[in-house]
């Protein structure tokens, strides 16, 4: 047993660190650090840096421009990127669709779509959930009917993250009502500019436009846009879910948030002393830190297993549940740490050009809002209740 990174992993970590130091502009890292809104152009700028370095799609096979990183390398990168306050890479195309295409797509699909993801030509969004199909995804009803060389798609997707930025959407659609519900589902790629598509914003509780409803009214989709075989979409979606859960434990995000929360606690004063020295608050910090350190190792134990070929199964459900609880607890402590200054909130202050003097400490504005926004972590990507159902069924045989 060796609980430390080996020498190659350390070399890799230093390389990643140096890259961030050199290529991540202070403008971008400050925006991330101070919770400013990222524009699409900001994300594109950063994706380009990563692509130039060959690190935009590190998990892809090298023949498609990937780096074939190990799970541990991915983890190191994730920790470092959060520590450096680098923008998040939107996972929909690069991290979700691409693995499915690489495994199940045709040669034409791979050679057409993969390079366009890397160079930023196409932005993707994920069209799985529907108003009536959330946790019970297999009940989805958006249907695609074959008509000559096309499918005609009718129905509605919802919660589509950044659908308003996207050029393309990959959807699960119903192509058959025969047999089990899971058997009549297909995986279809749809151009967001097709006639008959309408995107409507959903405003979240923090006032932000992050997700959308997407309506399909007789949308014509060429049959070449089917991935794999008709009615096999559920299998591909399940395959994708294992990828969606690779960073599921939120370790990098939690570590960075913990550091920033501790920084806040050391600057906020209580009874004439830094809050971080207050026994009540120090105990709260210590508890979450203890959980997080253990979680870091739980996560690495799963990842190292994955590197030696074991596909993460219910373990990823365990990582999801505990990882999101920890992440949300850190959000909770950050808002607590601010005391009364958690209250003021200005939406304009999240814009890049905003230069007015902040109300309260300059780090305060986004904190409560982030606490509310991150309630999503236990709802999406398989709610924590669904994950616990999976754990009790598959791990405990109950």
């Amino acid at each position: 047993m060796d609980i430390n990174y080996n020498s190659e992993e350390i070399v890799f970590r230093d390389e990643v660190r140096a890259f961030f130091a050199e290529k991540l502009s202070p403008r971008l890292s400050n925006k991330v650090k101070f919770g400013k809104r990222l524009a699409k152009a900001d994300m594109e700028e950063w994706q380009k840096e990563l692509n130039d370095r060959g690190w935009l799609a590190p998990n892809w096979p090298k023949e498609w421009g990937g780096a074939e990183w190990s799970a541990v390398q991915n983890h190191i990168f994730d920790e470092e990127r959060w520590a450096a306050n680098a923008p998040q890479i939107m996972p929909f195309g690069l991290g979700m669709l691409a693995p499915v295409l690489i495994k199940f797509g045709s040669e034409e699909q791979k050679s057409h779509y993969l390079p366009r993801m890397l160079d930023g030509t196409d932005w993707w969004c994920q069209g799985y959930s529907e108003p009536g199909a959330g946790s019970d995804l297999a009940s989805l009803r958006t249907k695609a009917e074959r008509d000559g060389d096309h499918y005609i798609v009718n129905g509605q997707k919802t919660w589509t993250t950044l659908g308003h930025f996207a050029d393309w959407i990959f959807c699960l659609v119903r192509t058959s009502n025969e047999g089990k519900r899971q058997q009549g589902i297909s995986f279809l790629m749809i151009d967001m500019n097709s006639p008959g598509i309408e995107v409507r914003p959903i405003i979240l509780l923090d006032g932000e436009h992050e997700v959308n409803e997407v309506f399909f009214d007789n949308v014509k989709v060429p049959v070449e846009n089917l991935v794999g075989e008709e009615n096999m979409g559920w299998t591909y979606a399940k395959y994708l879910l294992t990828h969606e859960r690779t960073n599921t434990a939120n370790i990098g995000s939690s570590l960075a948030a913990l550091a920033s929360m501790k920084e806040i606690a050391s600057r906020q004063m209580k009874n004439g002393k830094p809050l971080s020295q207050d026994p009540y608050f120090a105990a709260r910090i210590a508890k979450v830190e203890i959980d997080l350190r253990a979680m870091q190792t739980t996560n690495l134990r799963v990842l190292v297993d994955a590197d030696s070929g074991a596909a993460p199964g219910p373990e990823s459900s365990m990582l999801k549940v505990k990882g999101t609880i920890i992440r949300q607890e850190i959000n909770d402590l950050a808002r607590r740490a601010l005391g009364p200054y958690a209250l003021p909130f200005s939406s304009e202050a999240m814009d890049e050009g905003y230069n007015d003097e902040p109300i309260g400490p300059d780090y305060a504005n986004p904190i409560a809002s982030e606490y509310f926004n991150n309630r999503k972590l236990s709802i999406f990507a398989g709610s924590n209740e669904i994950q616990r159902n999976i754990i009790s069924k598959t791990k405990l045989g109950l």
């Binding site: 959930s129 009536g132 959330g134 946790s135 019970d136 009940s139 919802t158 919660w159 959903i202 405003i203 979240l204 509780l205 006032g207 997700v211 906020q268 004063m269 209580k270 009874n271 004439g272 809050l275 009540y280 608050f281 709260r284 909770d332 808002r335 607590r336 601010l338 005391g339 009364p340 200054y341 958690a342 209250l343 003021p344 909130f345 200005s346 109300i359 309260g360 409560a368 809002s369 606490y371 509310f372 309630r375 999503k376 236990s378 709802i379 999406f380 709610s383 924590n384 209740e385 616990r388």
Partner: protein, 372 residues
């Protein structure tokens, strides 16, 4: 023993509840919150006409209530509708004027109760967190009057107030209970800089900076602490009751949603894990209600019992509030995350009440330090 409300209070509660049901939909609430003032002056006048503002003042001060139970009844209803009008600032500043004001100063209460005049209490400071003793703003004698210098932060209702009650130190160390004085300051006073903003849950507040602002002493010089503590106690009870109302509604929304929403072919309310969690919510809400009854019942008792009960209630409001708000969002799934579903706004208010007048940790510590 009798845990029923008196007829008067039941009527007050029903009147307010009916009025809010008719006039204060969630859409109306958002409209009030999004307006320039951050609340509606028209609504405020209607509340005053209905006697709801007067219910926060005793008869001798021109009202018809002012006791712990009145506060409890009024604020629970306000919480049920997420009312953004300035009841809390009125209660705070009004308590101080009632307690300490000279006859001349008390004259302004008439205008307050009738809704014409808005008041607020500016006490917290950028570095004071939840300590009510910590006051660094200074007041010095200048001629016949006083001059104030310093900063006040997150002043509820501070932007719209016509008159502010402002605390400042006239002697003693910056964290000493002795040496704090209160001043009546006109909102238009020279040197007073008021910067309004909205809170994350939609209520109006302001940052205040003072440079040689003239004020008139309220109460005795250096002896305001006791009255401030009492006024904070009343306001703390008020937000506990407000949280109670908001939590009860969030619970009802959630249970209703559990009946409506189907996944896997059944109502999600059929899933036992969700049933148990809402059963826990219900148990905790009864605990919350009891601790509010304790606090309002002891509002006029000796400091130790009164303040311990206030801190008990606020400690629970923070702890239980988080549980109720988070469960409400979680069980609503994606819909609980949206602006459109009212439950999210209830959750925000419930959580942010933890940041008013001391959070759950503060009141745990205070409960211990006040002693038995």
């Amino acid at each position: 023993m009798d845990f029923n409300l008196s007829d008067d209070r039941r009527m007050l509660s029903e009147t307010l509840s009916r009025f809010l049901g008719d006039k204060y939909s969630i859409e109306k609430r958002h409209e009030c919150a999004a307006s320039d003032d951050g609340f509606s002056r028209d609504m405020w006048n209607e509340f005053a006409e209905l006697g709801i503002v007067g219910a926060l003042f005793s008869e001798e001060n021109g009202g018809f209530g002012g006791g712990g139970e009145d506060i409890n009844v009024v604020f629970e209803q306000l919480g049920r509708a997420l009312v953004v009008e300035p009841f809390l600032p009125t209660l705070l500043a009004g308590s101080l004027i009632s307690e300490l004001g000279s006859d001349a100063q008390k004259e302004m209460l008439e205008g307050v109760i009738s809704g014409e005049k808005l008041i607020a209490f500016a006490h917290g400071e950028p570095g004071s967190r939840y300590e009510i003793e910590r006051v660094t703003a200074k007041a010095e004698k200048a001629g016949d009057g006083w001059q104030l210098n310093g900063n006040k932060s997150v002043v509820l209702g501070g932007g719209a107030a016509d008159t502010l009650i402002i605390s400042a130190r006239t002697s003693g160390d910056e964290d000493s209970a002795n040496g704090i004085s209160l001043f009546v300051v006109d909102a238009g006073a020279a040197g007073l800089d008021v910067r309004s903003f909205g809170t994350v849950d939609g209520y109006p507040a302001a940052e205040i900076a003072m440079r040689n602002v003239s004020g008139e002493l309220l109460g005795n010089e250096g002896e305001a602490f006791e009255a401030i503590e009492k006024a904070y106690g009343r306001a703390t009870l008020a937000v506990c009751a407000e949280a109670m109302g908001a939590m009860d509604v969030a619970k009802d929304f959630t249970v209703e949603y559990m009946h409506q929403r189907k996944q896997f072919g059944v109502e999600i309310g059929k899933f036992q894990v969700l049933q148990h969690r809402m059963a826990d919510v219900l148990i905790e809400l009864e605990q919350m209600r009891s601790s509010i009854i304790n606090a309002s019942g002891h509002m006029n008792d000796d400091r130790v019992i009164r303040e311990r009960m206030v801190s008990s209630a606020k400690h629970l409001a923070g702890r239980i509030g988080r549980q109720v708000a988070e469960e409400a969002i979680q069980i609503h799934g994606g819909n609980g995350m949206t602006w459109e579903y009212a439950v999210s706004h209830y959750a925000k208010r419930i959580i942010m009440i933890d940041h008013l007048f001391g959070d759950t940790d503060h009141h745990l510590e205070r409960y211990i330090s006040i002693g038995a």
